[in-house]
């Protein structure tokens, strides 16, 4: 277990600055998930923690040791690569026990450890196979096993499940959650998958262009995004966001049907109006805040996602429970749950309303 601390870390490749000033503390035994659009620097950050990438500026501490200049082998951190990076010329047992072989551990102890972890990961029957004779999921487990055998201070995962098919991914996700519970080790995990991020993380770090946009528990990020970027990035389908103006206690998006927001007490200003698809209900007559024309209906079985075109607004996405009988071409009235409306100012920062503490940046 280890506490990992990044202080004012910057990273440049020659003249190209990838990361300018990033600070983050990962507590003992915490599971932190890094998310963000492609190219925002998640892998780079992970590799800097691992020691595979140099740190241009700033400090990296593990348990209050500054380890900027330590070689990866001296950091006692394990990493699971997206492509697994198994040694193709070694069988599964040797792959898993490689770190112990390197440290010249006792042979019996090594065999015993490898065997125990292989049992736990369901790899016991594959120990004498070469990686090329394994399926993707099995390789993935070998890569995890190789990391676990070492009993490192911390685990780093760079999109470990992205090469697996959907059902295998769910299985491995549960496996990783179980491992984290059992080992209690500090884990930093990069993913593009919203569900992985939401279900695995103690805290999620949303990154963009080498900066941290927001850090928080999954629910914090989902319910109170600190800015437009996070609001847009977290959640699938995305939060509905419309530009409008706040005036006399209401948000006006198009000239007609203003949405009254009694919770907010703001001067007149330009705002972004945000609401998640599941916080919109179908409504009739006066109860409706606006009406839209249904353009697409996606029936997922558990939910129905309706895309309705509202005059002057654009597409509004609505998530209805179960199999709703809404049809393409229907005209539907929409009602917004006022408690769940989120407003952002012209710069994209969240505006707190009465009865809600300001969100943490």
């Amino acid at each position: 277990m280890a506490k990992i601390e990044l202080q004012n870390v910057a990273k440049s490749y020659a003249a190209l600055e990838i990361m300018s000033d990033l600070s983050l503390t990962i507590e003992h035994g915490e599971f932190v998930v890094l998310v963000g659009p492609s190219g925002c620097g998640k892998s780079t950050l992970l590799r800097m923690i691992a020691g595979l990438e140099s740190i241009t500026k700033g400090d990296l501490y593990i348990d209050s040791d500054r380890i900027n200049d330590k070689a990866p082998r001296d950091r006692d951190i394990a990493m699971v690569f997206q492509s697994y990076a198994l040694y193709p010329h070694m069988d599964v047992a040797r792959n898993m026990g490689f770190s112990l072989e390197i440290r010249k551990e006792d042979k019996a102890l090594k065999t015993d450890r490898v065997q125990r972890i292989a049992d736990k990961l369901g790899l016991d029957t594959f120990l004498d196979r070469l990686p090329k004779a394994l399926s993707g999921g099995q390789r993935q487990r070998v890569a995890m096993g190789r990391a676990i055998v070492r009993d490192p201070k911390a685990f780093l995962f760079d999109e470990p499940l992205s090469n697996l098919d959907a059902s295998l991914r769910v299985g491995m996700r549960l496996e990783i959650a179980r491992l984290h519970r059992e080992l209690g080790a500090t884990m930093v995990y990069v993913t593009h998958d919203q569900v992985e991020a939401m279900t695995l993380a103690d805290r999620i770090v949303v990154m963009n262009l080498g900066n941290i946009e927001q850090v928080g528990t999954p629910i914090e990020l989902y319910e109170t995004p600190a800015n437009l970027f996070v609001a847009n990035f977290i959640g699938s389908p995305n939060m509905n966001l419309f530009e409008g103006a706040f005036r006399d206690g209401s948000v006006v998006i198009s000239s007609d049907n203003p949405v009254s927001l009694p919770d907010y007490d703001l001067p007149a200003q330009a705002v972004h109006f945000g609401i998640r698809p599941e916080h919109i209900r179908l409504a009739e007559g006066d109860r409706a805040d606006c009406t839209g024309l249904v353009e697409v209906v996606e029936r997922l079985g558990s939910d129905t996602i309706v895309y309705a075109n509202v005059d002057g607004w654009g597409i509004v996405v609505v998530r209805l429970n179960g199999t709703a009988d809404t049809q393409i071409g229907d005209s539907i009235g929409l009602h917004f749950d006022r408690a769940q409306v989120r407003l952002f100012d012209a710069d994209g920062k969240a505006i707190a309303h009465a009865g809600q503490s300001p969100t943490r940046q």
Binding site: A50, P72, R73, A78, F81, A85, L86, Y87, P88, H89
Partner: protein, 309 residues
């Protein structure tokens, strides 16, 4: 197949013909290449081997005649042959071992990023592009105490009691052509091993570093196993090539002094074209061929036990 091919002849001989035709077809396509290989390789080889069973000398009055294994019996008792065989072994092993280790070192150096790497990678091939004859001449001059510096350096280092040519000393003369050959052959190893090195994914080294491997451990446990199949095949090819490589010895020492640098290809050459005794030269060639065959067999067998990745 459930559907029946209408074109297929139904009678028995017809079906046989069709199947025979299908079997033959690939060989028809291959035939131009096969004919060419037979013409330029197998026929001369067979004629050459047949010479070794003949008395075939241009200076004897009688024409060629079949004499069975007489040439080989003579070979068995020929001190010059055994001397040349020993020298060939020494020459080949020293040349290949040095070429390989220095070539591997070169490849490892060139595999690291540094300024001007591409240009150096191209320049490194230059010795390989120099004709062997020119290499031999240049090195012979370098060793020559009158015009070359090497003897004087060796003298200054206290290795020689006076600045004599290395090539004139029967005990050490073989090192002259070996040094020239190493210089000549390093690029070949360097470039092939570099190509193999570059095919090893960086990620494996990164995984190794995370697993705690030192530079030496990742070299022995990741790099070498990956290179092994390539090493086996290049060492095999180079060995055969070096064992047959007569130019350097021929130009630098001519086999002397006192036959101390006589190697089999030179012995074959002088027997055939100085003494004009083709029969005996062919017998020596066959002996060399058999030795190389055995060597190749052993190495290829070893290679099969290496893991292919």
């Amino acid at each position: 197949m459930i559907t029946k091919n209408d074109n297929a002849p139904d009678t028995l001989p017809g079906r046989f013909q069709a199947r025979f035709g299908r079997l033959l077809e690939p060989y028809i396509y291959l035939s131009p290449a096969l004919v060419l290989i037979a013409l330029v390789m197998f026929i001369p080889l067979i004629i050459g081997i047949s010479f070794s069973f003949q008395k075939y000398s241009l200076i004897s009055a009688s024409g060629p005649e079949w004499i069975g294994f007489a040439n080989f019996e003579k070979l068995y008792g020929d001190r010059r042959f055994w001397n040349a065989a020993r020298n060939t072994l020494f020459w080949t092993v020293c040349s290949v071992v040095l070429q390989f280790s220095l070539g591997l070192g070169l490849a490892l150096l060139l595999n690291r990023p540094f300024f001007g790497r591409r240009i150096v990678q191209a320049l490194i091939l230059l010795p390989w592009a120099v004709p062997g004859f020119l290499t031999g001449l240049t090195w012979a001059w370098l060793f020559n105490p009158i015009i070359g510096p090497i003897s004087h350096w060796m003298f200054a280092l206290g290795l020689f009691s006076q600045p004599d040519s290395l090539l004139a000393d029967p005990q050490y003369a073989m090192w002259g052509p070996i040094v020239a050959n190493v210089w000549y052959g390093i690029p070949c190893f360097g470039v092939t091993l570099l190509a193999a090195l570059q095919s090893i994914p960086d990620e494996l080294y990164e995984a190794g570093a995370m697993d705690g491997a030192s530079a030496w451990q990742s070299f022995t446990k990741i790099t070498l196993p990956f290179l092994a199949p390539m090493i086996a095949i290049t060492v095999l090819l180079r060995t055969i090539w070096v064992a047959n490589f007569a130019d350097l010895v021929f130009i630098m020492t001519g086999g002397g002094p006192a036959n101390s640098t006589q190697i089999l290809p030179n012995y074959i050459f002088t027997t055939a074209f100085r003494k004009l005794d083709f029969g005996y030269a062919a017998a020596i060639s066959v002996a060399l061929l058999v030795l190389l065959f055995i060597y190749a067999g052993i190495l290829l067998h070893m290679r099969r036990t290496l893991v292919k990745v």
